[in-house]
Structures are given as C-alpha cells and as structure tokens.
C-alpha cells in the first residue's frame, strides 16, 4: 500500500498553491517582453483567446486527470495516465510528468537562488552607487562564479545550495504544513509587492529622479494595439506558447496537486480561480513593472535594444536594480527587496510544485516516507543542477530550459489532450470535469476540449518543429521552406552553433564554440539518461504492482 496519506489543509490553500505553481518568473520577465515583441496591445487578443481555448481546457483536463488518478491512490502522472487506458505504454508517456519537473527544477532553483541572493544584495546596498554597466557587470561576474561582493567564495553555489535546502525542507514538511503554508504567505506578499511596484510603474514622471519619460510612454509602447500583427501566425504561436509557460500545464504538477482532491469535491471552479489568479498576476501586475519602469528611465530605443540583446531576464537582473536606485538609496533598496522578493516567491511556489510528483511517485510505488523522498529530490536536483551553475556560459542552462522547460511541455500536453478527449473518451472526461463542480461548466467546452485544444497543441508543436526562417510563414509557403535556427529540427542539428563555428576565425572564439557544442550535446545526453532512468523506475514499479496483484 502507498505510504501517501496526505491532504490539503484548505480549499483556499489549494488554490493559492495551484496559483503559486503557475505564477513564476515568466509572469514578470517573459510576458511583457512577448507582448512588446508581438504587437503590443493587440497581443492580448490572441493571448486571451488562447487562454480560453487552450489554457482553461488544459487546466480542466489536468485537474480532472489528477483527481481521477488520486481515486486509485496515484499521485504522479505515469500511473495516473495508466489508469485511463488499458494500453500499458501510456505510463511511459507519463514519465514526462516527473522528468520535466526534475529537469526544470535543476535550472529553475538556480534562477531562484539568484533572486534570493539579489534580495540580500539589495539589503546590503551592493547596487547603490553602481551605474548601469556596474550592475550589468555584477550579473556577469555572478554567473561566471567570479568575485563576490559579500566575500563568500563561490557565492552562486552557496545560494543555490541554500535555495535547494529550503525547497527540500519545505517539501519534507508535507503538503498542508509545507507547500500550502508557503503559498499562503508567499502569494499575498507577492501580490502586495507587485502592487507597490506597479504603482511606481504607473507614476513615473519625466524629469523626476532622472526619468526621461512619463509612465505613459512605456504603457503606450506596451498597450498600443498593432492590429496588423493579429494575422501573423508567429504572434499566435507566441501567444499560445506564453499561455503554456504561464499556466505550468504539460508538466505534471497540476495532476499531482489535484490528485489529493476527493472525487466529490470541486475542481472546475478551483481551476478557474487559480487560472485567473495567475492571469491577474501576469497581465495586471507583470505588465505594469518591467517595461514602464525601464522605458521611463532608458527610453524606448534603449529598452528595445536591451530586450533584443538580453531578453526579460537580462532586463530584470541587469537593469532594474540600477533603475530602482534612481528613487534614492532607501527606496532603491526597498524596491530591490520587493522586486527580487516577488520573483523569489514566484519561483519557490513553482519549484515546490516540481518536487511533489517525484515524492508522490516514491511514496506510492516504493513506500518511501515523505522526508527521505523529499531529500532524494533535493539530491537529484543538486546533482543535475550543478552543471547549469558550473557551465552556465556554455549554454547548459539554456539547453535544460529549451528541452525540459519548453519542448517537453508541448509534447506532454499534446499527448494528454489526445488521451483525455479521444482515448479515455470525452463523455467520461466531461463527467470527471463536472463531477462535484461548484460552477456550471459551459457545454461548448466539450467540443473545444475534443477538437480545438488538441489541434491547437498540434499546431504549436508542428509550428515549433519547423518554424520558417524569420517566422515568415507566408514567405515559406511561397518561396520554399527554410528552417529558422530556433526550430526544433535545427536545434537538434545545432545549426546555429555549427554556422558560428564555420564562420569564426579567432582561435579563442573557436575554442569557446567547440566547448559550447560539447556541453550542449553532453546536457542532452544527460537529460535523455535521466528520462530513461525514470522510465526504468516506472517499469520496476509496474512489475512490483504485478507481483503484488495490484494490477
């Protein structure tokens, strides 16, 4: 029998934990950048449509799959999907729901540790008196494991380990006393910090504190709709992709959290509440901080250049700490603590969710108790995460992010939507969604879940697999298909790296590129090895079940 007898403490706690799982760093760093790159205010139209026809259906699918599997004592995706159809191969598709979390947690906890470290650096006044280049160099020095302002040797590793210990300890306390308690503290604080920073983002005045623009310039830049972009498949692909990442669907965490809900209790309203809470944090708070503040001080051109060269991550870590200090030393430090504190809470509520499927799997299948299962998660993430820390400059972090944090989500979501609507069957699926529901689920969603969601997911997958050069779909259809370097096929072939290598003449650059190529391929091999190891464990667990007469 499973050693897993856990429960949620309260319904609001579950919703906050589920919203915390969804709310991540991407809400504040990725969404605003995606919006400005894809039509500004017009981006919100495909974004909200994708939320309605892909995001909400996937939330309902995952919540109901999780609750359905929980009835049979399963708390991780391999055996949750195994209960849904007699074909025994489905459980190996469910491996994605554990593997993705372990692989993502390995680099995500490192990212989370930056936010924790930056909170302390904000309190310690590290950024006071630094110019923009100084703050940017601090970041470069930090990720290269260079000299620490605090004098701590290998500071990034120390913070990474602290962060992992914290995650592991919280996970070892259980669902109600660990994960839920953190969500109940973290989510309200995150929203509070977000409201303060959004207020600052809305009230920047040109000429005050060194600002060169009013807030309205940044807000216009972000929200002015460019309706021509609405017809671009690239924009729709970007909107669908953003919905994916922001809701943390296709990961297996939603299934795991929902597997602790009893079959008579509601999931339909819970899913809507957690989903819209995530949207509030992303669209209302996320859009009001990064871009308006950056444009207020650096202008549109400056921010566009920074976004194109560094992305949202660079803007958040290399630029904002400097901009906060334009408000004075005290307010600069306070804003820094709030910004990185907000990112930390967004991060930890997500990374805790990533630990629960592995823990649930060990408890269910191998009768592990919660504490050793949690510590085993911490140990695996430490071992798998160290390459992202040590070889950050060789692109290991980005490789993990691409394969585990991007491609894998789409693949698993595509499979689960087909399993739910076509293999398990829409009638049974609909009964699972509506059973115990505290809201009336609109019946047209039956058709959306059956036809629209899987087709949209297939399109997202194919669109990512064969992305045409420059995202020019019309040109590709008319003049022949040349793949973009960002397409999955060209990523697998390392096309971009190989081209850079062929064009390089400087021996130092050639060496760096060759090392990068080696580490990129090594990262992929490692990730595949982890996937196969989990699949082997699932096979052993299956054989154990057969021996024990549980199947």
């Amino acid at each position: 029998m499973s050693a897993n007898k856990e429960s949620w403490g309260s319904r609001v706690g579950l919703i906050l934990a589920m919203a915390g799982n969804a709310v991540g760093l991407g809400n504040f760093l990725r969404f605003p950048v995606q919006a400005v790159q894809n039509g500004g205010g017009a981006f919100i139209i495909p974004y909200l449509i994708c939320f309605l026809v892909m995001g909400i259906p996937l939330l309902w699918i995952e919540w109901s799959m999780g609750r359905f599997g929980g009835k049979f004592g399963h708390h991780s995706t391999p055996f949750i999907v195994d209960t849904m159809h007699r074909n025994r191969l489905w459980k190996y598709i469910g491996v994605f729901g554990i593997w993705t979390n372990i692989a993502v947690a390995s680099y995500y906890c490192y990212l989370e540790s930056w936010t924790l470290s930056y909170v302390f650096h904000s309190i310690g006044g590290t950024f006071a008196g630094l110019d923009q280049n100084g703050v940017s160099n601090f970041f470069n020095e930090y990720v290269s494991l260079g000299e620490s302002t605090f004098g701590i040797p290998y500071e990034p590793i120390v913070f990474f380990v602290i962060c992992l210990l914290l995650n592991t300890w919280i996970l070892s306390q259980g669902l109600a006393k660990g994960v839920e308690r953190v969500a109940k503290i973290g989510m309200p604080l995150l929203i509070l910090f977000g409201i303060f920073l959004a207020y600052k983002g809305f009230t920047i005045t040109a000429g005050e504190d060194g600002a060169i623009n009013d807030s309205s310039v940044g807000l216009n830049f972000l929200w002015t709709p460019n309706f021509d972009e609405l017809w671009s498949p690239t924009v729709w692909l970007a909107a669908a992709g953003q919905i994916f990442f922001t809701l943390s669907v296709g990961m297996g965490t939603v299934h795991c959290y929902a597997s602790y809900v009893r079959s008579k209790d509601d999931i339909a309203l819970n899913a809507m509440s957690a989903g819209w809470m995530n949207e509030f944090v992303e669209v209302v708070l996320g859009a009001a901080i990064l871009i308006p503040i950056s444009i207020g001080y650096l202008g549109i051109e400056g921010v566009t250049n920074l976004v194109n060269s560094q992305g949202g991550l660079g803007l958040g870590f290399r630029t904002l700490p400097y901009l906060f200090y334009q408000w004075g030393d005290v307010l600069g430090a306070v804003a820094g603590v709030m910004w990185f504190g907000l990112l930390f809470f967004a991060g930890i509520t997500s990374s805790l969710a990533m630990g629960t499927p592995w823990i649930g799997f060990l408890q269910d299948e191998f009768n592990w108790r919660r504490k050793p299962a949690a510590w085993s998660f911490g140990l695996i993430v430490l071992m798998l995460g160290m390459p992202t820390v040590l070889f950050f400059k060789y692109g290991v972090f980005d490789e993990y992010d691409y394969w585990a944090g991007t491609v894998s989500l789409v693949v698993f979501a595509l499979f689960e939507s087909i399993l739910f609507a076509w293999v398990f069957g829409m009638n049974k699926g609909w009964r699972e969604i509506t059973s115990g529901a505290d809201i009336e689920v609109p019946s047209f969603y039956k058709y959306i879940i059956k036809f629209v969601t899987p087709l949209l997911l297939l399109w997202v997958f194919v669109g990512s697999l064969i992305t045409p050069k420059g995202g020019d779909w019309a040109g590709a259809f008319a003049n022949g298909w040349e793949l973009d370097d960002s397409s999955i096929i060209n990523k697998i072939k390392n096309t971009s790296l190989k081209r850079q290598l062929a064009e390089a003449t400087d021996p130092e650059v050639i060496q760096q590129l060759q090392d990068t190529l080696f580490f990129v391929n090594a990262s992929r091999t490692l990730l595949v090895a982890v996937f196969l190891s989990i699949a082997l464990l699932v096979y052993i667990a299956y054989k154990k079940r057969v021996r024990e007469g549980r199947i």
């Binding site: 429960s7 949620w8 403490g9 309260s10 319904r11 609001v12 706690g13 579950l14 919703i15 500004g40 205010g41 017009a42 919100i44 909200l48 109600a176 309205s216 807000l219 216009n220 972000l222 929200w223 002015t224 709709p225 602790y260 809900v261 009893r262 008579k264 209790d265 509601d266 309203l269 819970n270 809507m272 509440s273 819209w276 809470m277 949207e279 509030f280 669209v283 209302v284 115990g436 505290d438 809201i439």
Partner: protein, 53 residues
C-alpha cells in the same frame, strides 16, 4: 496615454481583475460539503459533519 492603448489596457485590466475576484468569491462563498472532504482544516466544523444514519 493614447486612446487605443488606454482602452485596451483598461478593458483588459477590468476583465482580468473582475474575473479573478468573481471566481475567488465563488470559491469562498460555495456551500460547505459534508465530511469527509479533501481538506483537513475544516474537519471539526459542525456544519460539515454528515448526518448520522
């Protein structure tokens, strides 16, 4: 701000905030379900105890 940006921003913020508050209100005002339910904290609440046969 220009009018189109203001319209898009305000309508989006109103819609998203409104729906977030609406669904959260629905959660907290939903009638209690009898024990045993999925949540530990309300196990002792009298109105949730199932009537004895």
């Amino acid at each position: 701000m220009n009018t189109s940006a203001l319209v898009v921003m305000l309508s989006t913020i109103t819609l998203v905030t409104g729906l977030m508050l609406y669904f959260f209100y629905r959660v907290v005002s939903a009638p209690p379900k009898p024990e045993p339910d999925s949540y530990l904290d309300n196990d002792d609440e009298i109105e949730r105890q199932a009537p004895r046969a």
